[in-house]
Structures are given as C-alpha cells and as structure tokens.
C-alpha cells in the first residue's frame, strides 16, 4: 500500500501510535514537502487542524490537495472539538473528520470505512470497485460475480488502475508503471490492452475504464464532476 500523507511534520504522537499499530504506512509532511508526491502517489491523507493553534495552514493544505488534477482522497481531518464551526462551508475539503484526542479504534474504523468507500476493500488483499473484485493474493478477478480470465498483463493493468480509482493516467505513465520498462511498441500497447480488458469486462462494465480524450485513461468515476 502507498503511504498516507500525514500533516503536520512531526505529527501528534498518539496519531503515530495508532497508524503504526494498525500497520498503515505513512509519511509526515509540512506545507512545502507536501508538494513532493511519492512515485506511487498517496493512499490518502490525515490532516490535523489541531495543535497547530487553529491557524489556516491545515485548511490551506486540504485545499491544495483537493485542487490537484486528481483530488487527493480519502482525506481525514483531525479537529479540536472546540473549533468545529471551522468546518462550515468547507465540506468539500475533507471526506470525514474526527475529534481530538484520538481513540485508536475510532481512527482505524474511520480509515477502514474511508478506504472501503474509495474502492479499497476492508481486507487489504481485496480491491473492490462497484461490480469488480480483485484478489491481490490469488490474482483472481471477477466482475458481477463472474470470473475474468485475464492474461498476466491484462491483470497487471487492471490491478494498477483499480488500486488508483478516479485518477487519470497518461499512456506513458501506465507503460512505465505497469510494463515497467521501455516496452517496445510504445503507448499503443496500452490502448490495445485497454481494449482487450474492456472486451473481457463485457459491454455492461466496459465503461469502468474511461478514455480521457488526449490525456489517457481513468478507472472508475472522478469524485469531483468537472
């Protein structure tokens, strides 16, 4: 799993404890280092508007994360219960919030719920999105309960897309991330594999992978309508 973005750097000690105990990889950032996205992107973000004295930094960061080409999600906000009114009119900046002080069980439950909503199953080896289920452990994929007979490269491409729902990838990115080397045949290879995947998904599910004109491909729905 990709790391969670955690703000601020260093994060509150009890948050670190919770994350480490639940086994979530994370990386703490401040306003500037938040711009350096890891290669695989972020799994999501936990932003603390607490202990930072109620300043605007936390919301500014949320806004920046949401305004990217592909808005970062899920985003969990940690707030001081005394300042809940700050959330008003900012509902689009976060997916869920939690009041400090933190309780480990609650953080974990909320994260699980958020990941489930954005296409990550409650079991780490399952990726679920609508009718599609991928089992990363057994390499099996099914759609609407029907097993898909995929070739290895088709599976790898679907796995990559389904674990990054809502994001638009260029052909070049897909080529380097899925094929992993300068595959000869260029980005046409990606088009051809997407077509094969759509054929196997069947007409009613082919739209799970949408073509974003002159950019590339996206799996699933964008969270934020253009």
């Amino acid at each position: 799993m990709e790391p969670l973005l955690v703000f601020p750097d260093p994060p509150p000690a009890d948050l670190v404890l919770v994350l480490d105990r639940a086994g979530y990889p994370w990386k703490a950032v401040n306003e500037t280092s938040a711009r350096n996205e890891p290669d695989d992107g972020w799994a999501g973000a936990i932003v603390c508007d607490w202990e930072s004295g109620g300043g605007e930094e936390a919301f500014a960061l949320c806004r920046a994360l949401r305004k990217r080409d592909v808005p970062l999600e899920p985003l969990l906000l940690v707030v001081d219960p005394a300042r809940l009114e700050n959330l008003e009119l900012r509902e689009d900046l976060f997916d869920d919030f939690i009041c400090a002080p933190l309780r480990a069980e609650e953080v974990e439950a909320r994260l699980k719920h958020l990941f489930w909503r954005t296409g990550r199953g409650l079991r780490p080896e399952l990726v679920e999105y609508g009718p599609l289920v991928l089992n990363l452990e057994t390499y099996q994929a099914s759609v609407g309960g029907r097993a898909l007979d995929l070739t290895y490269m088709e599976y790898e491409l679907l796995r990559f897309l389904a674990t990054h729902p809502g994001r638009v990838f260029t052909r070049e990115t897909l080529l380097s991330r899925v094929w992993g080397y300068e595959y000869y045949g260029g980005a046409r290879t990606v088009d051809v594999h997407v077509r094969r995947l759509r054929a196997k998904l069947g007409e009613e599910n082919a739209a799970l992978i949408s073509t974003v004109r002159s950019v590339g491909y996206r799996f699933g729905q964008p969270r934020w309508p253009a």
């Binding site: 007979d149 290895y152 490269m153 051809v192 094969r196």
Partner: protein
C-alpha cells in the same frame, strides 16, 4: 518474469484447470497442440517440453527430430469452452532447438525475426485482418457444399442459425480478449466476416490462429462446418483475409503525413511501393493453396493486378480514407491474402516487402484510378500494371527466384515450403477434374 510465472501457476490452481494446451503452428499454418497437466506446467515453463519435430509438417528431418516447445507466458489464457467438463487453458509456444536457440522451422520465429528487423529501424508493425469464411451443412469432401442460408451482404434475417453462430463467435472472442470491430453477413450465401481490431503483428498472428479455431469450434457445437477454404463454391465470391497494416514509431503513426495531399508519409509510400514490387513473389505465402487461385480471378472483388488506389476495391493495395482528426488510423489494406494462409509467414513477408520499399526508396507508381477489371490486358500493360500469379505453380516460380522471400523465411522454411507445394501442384496437375469430364467425354 517470475511474478508472471507465479500468476500463471496460481491461476491454474485457483481456477481448477485440469489441462494446459501447448499451442504451436506448423509451416502451413495448421494449429498443433499437446496437453500437459498442471503438475508438469512448472517444469514446462522453466525448461520447455520436448517433442518429436519430425512428426510436424515442415519441422525436422528424422535424424534431427527433437525440439522444445517453450510457452510464451504472455499468451496464457483460460479457454471459454471446456473439454468435456474440464476447465482448460492454452498457451502459445515458441519452438526451440534442444540447445535453446530458436528453431528455424518455427513460423512464430520467422515473424519475430522480421519484427526485430523493423524494430531496429524504430518501427512496430500493426495488423488488422478481416476474416471471411463459410458455414456449410457438412464437411464431407465428396459432397457439394450446402450453404445454411441465402442471405447477402449486411442482410438481416430473423432467427437464423448462421447469424446466431456468428454472434456467439464474436462473444467468445471478446471473452478471450480479442476485440472485434465488425461482424456481418458477407456477399455470398452463408458467407460471414469477422473484422478484428488492430494489434501488433505477432499477437495478431496468434489471434488469427485462435479466431479460426473459435469459429470452427462454435460451429461444430451446432453440427455445422465452418471453412476458411478460399473458394469453396464457384460463381460466388471466395473468402479473403484483407488485412490493414500500419507502422508506428512509438506513439506516432509512421504512415501519416499531414503535409502530403493524400496524408501518406514517405514511409507509407515506400512501404506500398515495396509491397507492389514484391507482391508477385510473396503471393505463394499469402495464398498458399491450389484453391487460393480460384479466388484470385476477375469479377469477384478479389485483386488480380498489382496496383494501388485510394478507395478502389479492385486494387491490390487500397488506402482507406482515415477519419479526419484521427492520424493514427492511417493505414494500408492488402487485399490478396486469404484466411487459409499461415498468418505468421504472411505478415512476415508483407512486412519484409514493405520495409524493403522504405529502405530502397522505391517510387510509388501512379494510383490506379479506374476499375481495373474493366481494362484490357493491353491497357493494363500500358499503365505498367502487371498481374498477380494466376496459379500456385506460377506463384512458386516467382517465390523461388525471390531473394527477399528466401531471406525472410530462412532457408529451412523456404526450402521445405517450395518442396511441399510443388508436390501439391504435381498432384493437382495429374488430377482429372469434373470440368474436363463434363466438357470432353461427350465430345472427344
């Protein structure tokens, strides 16, 4: 590679696959296969499976008979139909010598080698064939072919068996990850066409092998015989495999040039010129049976003369209009191949001919603008338009004197092919046909 192997082994286990069919192709394009069990699979993936090559047409001579089939994991695919009640998967193989070097007689290797040449020049080669075939009531060689329907081009008939077979075939192909562009009833009674979406030529050659099998398999389930015989009935159109070809440089269609009046790049023009120059010599490969030449006659929309044109369907090479704003769809259509060819060898010789045209900078002759079928031989000669070979014998003579074909196929395949086909021609020449009996017996 390791994870790919793990993927295959795990899938076999998870899905309860009982047999894995190792597929390969002989020199004439006949599909060959042997089954292995999951227990043998890991070893087959690591080391390949040894088999006796002398049992396969065009492979080994008796004294050097053993060869290896090594699965190409990219092609591992569970089959949508079952053998009895057992789940089965297939994987295409490359055939190797026992020392692990590519085996000279393997058609897949012939195509790979030619694609490698293109790759050195920075090109990848794409193909999109249109497979035509007939459904008949039975395959009895002594019988007269019995069409299932009398529909014609694009005709919509209600509840017809053939249309149903075609639909199920398309769905099965899609399930196997083979996107179909169109499927329709063709011109002749009981004739159908399935057009495949373009992909790289090696995958496409594998796909043609798969598609031919799927068409026959689905027909057989309903007691119907599907045939890719080029000309099963006289007086109606034969079955072709018009194939659209293009070269790409990375993402860019190398055939497209917005500055050219026809949008054809220098490379495209060279490719067509090379194809036209070598067309007579490669015809034995694209049309490899005695019967293939019964299709290549005037009057049935099959090419007879070596020419090119835009949107003139009597030409051998047609340049379809690319949709506006879709430069990537610029391509050429080569109209002589029939669906009974060996797709690996056919794509290899087409590519080699086209590349030669680019390398040597051959000039593109003028476009054939009128209907070629309507011109007299003298008019054609004046235009510099020569004929395609009229028989397998002519085609073999032209092929035999072609450096390009010999080099592309390699000595082993080239020599065996000529020998095998000369024997076929000799048998045919000695045969006294119904035509002769009807015509001469009463009169002479």
């Amino acid at each position: 590679m390791q994870s790919q192997q793990e993927y295959v082994l795990r899938t076999v286990e998870e899905r309860g696959i009982r047999f894995i069919q190792l597929w390969f192709t002989d020199v004439l394009g006949t599909p060959k296969s042997f089954n292995i069990t999951p227990a043998e699979l890991e070893n087959a993936l690591d080391e390949g499976m040894t088999f006796d090559g002398s049992a396969v047409d065009g492979f080994s001579r008796v004294q050097e008979s053993d060869v290896l089939a090594r699965p190409d994991l990219n092609t591992f695919q569970i089959l949508p139909w079952r053998e009895g009640d057992l789940a089965v998967a297939r994987v295409f193989c490359d055939v190797l010598n026992l020392d692990g070097t590519p085996f000279e007689g393997c058609p897949r290797h012939v195509l790979r080698r030619t694609l490698e040449k293109a790759r050195h020049k920075g090109y990848s080669f794409y193909a999109a064939p249109e497979l035509e075939y007939f459904y008949f009531a039975s395959a009895r060689p002594d019988g007269v072919p019995q069409p299932l329907d009398t529909g014609s081009y694009f005709e919509l008939t209600v509840a017809d068996l053939a249309g149903d077979l075609r639909k199920r075939t398309v769905l099965t192909l899609e399930e196997m990850g083979i996107p179909v562009e169109y499927a329709q009833h063709e011109d002749a009674p009981s004739q159908h066409e399935i057009d495949l979406r373009h992909t790289d030529a090696l995958t496409m050659a594998d796909t043609v092998m798969t598609a031919r099998l799927v068409v026959k398999e689905i027909a057989q389930e309903r007691g119907v015989h599907a045939t890719f015989m080029p000309k099963p009935m006289e007086g109606v159109q034969g079955s072709g495999m018009h194939t659209h070809f293009s070269l790409f440089e990375g993402d860019v269609n190398a055939f497209h040039d917005p500055g050219d009046p026809h949008n054809l790049s220098k490379a495209a023009q060279g490719f067509i010129a090379g194809l036209l120059r070598h067309a007579p010599a490669i015809t034995a490969i694209t049309n490899q049976w005695v019967n293939s030449y019964k299709r290549l006659v005037a009057g049935y929309e099959a090419p007879v003369y070596v020419s090119w044109a835009r949107n003139n369907r009597s030409a051998l090479v047609r340049v379809p209009f690319a949709k506006r704003g879709k430069p990537e769809s610029t391509r050429i259509e080569y109209r002589s191949p029939d669906p009974a060819c060996n797709p690996y060898l056919a794509f290899a010789v087409v590519l080699a001919a086209g590349l030669d045209g680019i390398d040597e900078g051959y000039d593109l002759p003028p476009e054939a603008a009128t209907n070629l079928y309507a011109m007299s031989p003298a008019e054609l000669a004046a235009e510099g338009i020569g004929p395609l070979p009229g028989s397998l014998a002519d085609a073999l003579n032209l092929m035999e004197s072609s450096e390009l074909v010999a080099e592309t196929l390699g000595e082993h395949v080239f020599e065996w092919f000529i020998r095998n086909k000369r024997a076929e021609w000799a048998d045919y020449k000695a045969h006294v046909s119904r035509f002769e009996l009807d015509r001469y017996l009463p009169r002479l």
